[in-house]
């Protein structure tokens, strides 16, 4: 028996409502899938683009940055300011000041692609916050390197002052990455 259309519509409509309620009821009994953020955290993937940092070279205890300014030039937001100095007898300059204005950074990664020495990388910091603008707009990346160097010096005592004092740490590093 075919019911008149309004009845059929009402019945099928009511059935669709019941199906919907069955689905939500089914979801009701499933476990929750959210991460309780401050207590649980997610692991950031390897390619995660956080803010940039200078790579601390474990072999030399220094940054690989030569202050070539390519990252500064590649940056669309002009948020990188690098300064370098040359010490006597070295082929490249070394970085003396690397300031990052993180308030302007768009995390595009062009600076890292531009770097010919692999001297910068993304951190996995996803929750960079600060109480004031000053906490983020003038990040001193060189100071971070120096902090790491202090810890590094604990495990890598400087070689005894001898004839090969200063060039010694540089020996293991191959110069292959120079352009």
């Amino acid at each position: 028996m075919r019911l008149p259309i309004p009845f059929r519509e009402t019945l099928s409509g009511f059935k669709s409502l019941l199906i919907g309620m069955r689905i939500t009821l089914g979801q009701f009994f499933k476990p929750s899938i959210t991460v309780q953020y401050p207590r649980q955290t997610l692991k950031m993937p390897a390619r995660f683009r956080g803010r940039i940092e200078l790579i601390f070279d474990q072999a030399t205890g220094k940054s690989r940055c030569t202050a070539c300014l390519l990252c500064q030039r590649a940056c669309p937001s002009n948020c990188i300011a690098v300064e370098g100095a040359r010490t006597e007898g070295e082929k490249h300059k070394h970085v003396t000041d690397y300031k990052l204005d993180f308030t302007m950074c768009s995390l595009c990664g062009l600076c890292i692609e531009a770097c010919p020495f692999d001297a910068i990388q993304f951190t996995k910091v996803y929750n960079a916050v600060s109480f004031s603008r000053d906490g983020l707009n003038n990040l001193d990346l060189v100071r971070e390197i120096e902090t790491k160097r202090k810890a590094w010096l604990q495990t890598h005592p400087p070689p005894a002052p001898g004839p090969a004092a200063s060039p010694a740490p540089r020996q293991p590093q191959p110069e292959a990455s120079s352009p």
């Binding site: 009402t10 309620m21 929750s32 899938i33």
Partner: protein, 345 residues
């Protein structure tokens, strides 16, 4: 104890405090329950920071609402603006006075209890209208207009359904209505198909009307937050909004109480076992049934999108009213059928 309660002022005071506490606790914790249920449905834990598992959340909410400045927007009708939250809160409190939670657990067992409930229940809409109108906000006024036409439209099928039940029961006394549903769940009005084969449909109509009367989703025209910002409550802040919010849940409690009384056998146990019935079991059954209905209300809220306003009126005038009228006529016919048959043969 029973002596003390038989003194009228003491009795009234006791029940006054009891009902206020019941409504207050329910309103506070139903908000939390709703948020928890919504969370579960959406696969998240819901509020879980305040207190263990979030059970302190209502206190935090209320504290926040109390701490807010009472803002009366310029250009409002102050008297109406302030009266609206009170008017929306008062009817459910009044109505609960006649709702029997147990056979003897009722504040005032009126023999016109049902009439009383519906008389006070329809004040609710006026409060929302006043609130919307007095706020001097365009969204609020649209919302107020919607609420009035919605509540008028849904009052009719609801009353038709109740008249159907009255014809079957022959009494307006809520306790008497429940007593008639004794003897197992198949005797509940919900399943009394030998009285009227459309009884389950009648219950669904009642449920839908109850949703609409309490302005619950999918019929939440009063608030309809994605269209009218917050509808009639747009200009209310702090505890003014809090009272509206509490009233919404009190109305749900009242509506579900009524549904329990009228269709689900009130405090009657679902199985006619002596061990499961008695003065202590009564409230347990009543509350179980009531909270099951409230859960359904919340499940509906978190499943469906909001109906379109004209679709909502169409539903009432074109489907629910004819159906409930038909059910009414059918009940009448079925009641008279034995008499007719008797006379014929």
């Amino acid at each position: 104890m029973s002596n003390l309660l038989s003194i009228e002022p003491v009795r009234i005071l006791t029940y006054l405090v009891g009902i206020c506490a019941f409504v207050g606790a329910n309103a506070a914790y139903l908000v939390l329950a709703e948020r928890k249920i919504a969370g579960r449905i959406q696969r998240r834990p819901g509020p879980n920071e305040a207190g263990y598992g979030g059970w302190m959340q209502p206190f935090a909410d209320v504290l926040k609402l109390f701490a807010k400045q009472v803002m009366i927007p310029p250009g409002t009708d102050i008297l109406l603006y302030c009266a609206a939250p009170l008017m929306v809160m008062a009817p459910p409190l009044m109505c609960l006075a006649v709702v029997p939670f147990g056979e003897s657990l009722v504040a005032r067992n009126l023999d016109i209890g049902l009439l009383f409930v519906f008389a006070f229940g329809s004040i609710n809409v006026m409060a929302l209208m006043l609130g919307g109108w007095a706020s001097r906000n365009k969204y609020s006024i649209i919302s107020a207009a919607r609420v009035v036409s919605q509540n008028v439209a849904y009052e009719i099928p609801m009353l038709l359904v109740v008249i159907t039940l009255l014809m079957v029961a022959g009494t307006l006394d809520l306790n008497e209505l429940i007593r008639q549903q004794a003897g197992g769940f198949w005797n509940w009005n919900l399943l009394r198909v030998w009285v009227n084969p459309l009884m389950p449909v009648t219950f669904i109509i009642f449920f839908i009307c109850m949703l609409a009367e309490t302005n619950r989703a999918p019929f939440d025209m009063a608030e309809s937050e994605s269209e009218l910002v917050a509808g009639a409550f747009t200009e209310y802040g702090g505890m003014g909004f809090g009272v509206f919010f509490m009233a919404e849940y009190s109305n749900i409690v009242l509506g579900c109480c009524l549904g329990t009384v009228l269709f689900l056998g009130g405090w009657q146990s679902p199985l006619p076992l002596a061990a499961l019935s008695g003065p202590l079991w009564g409230p347990v059954w009543f509350l179980l049934k009531m909270y099951a209905l409230i859960f359904t209300v919340m499940l509906v809220r978190w499943t469906f999108p909001r109906t379109q306003f004209y679709g909502l009126l169409n539903l009432s005038w074109k489907i629910l009213i004819p159906l409930s009228l038909f059910s009414l006529l059918l009940t009448g016919a079925m009641m008279k059928l034995p008499l007719v048959l008797q006379r014929l043969f």
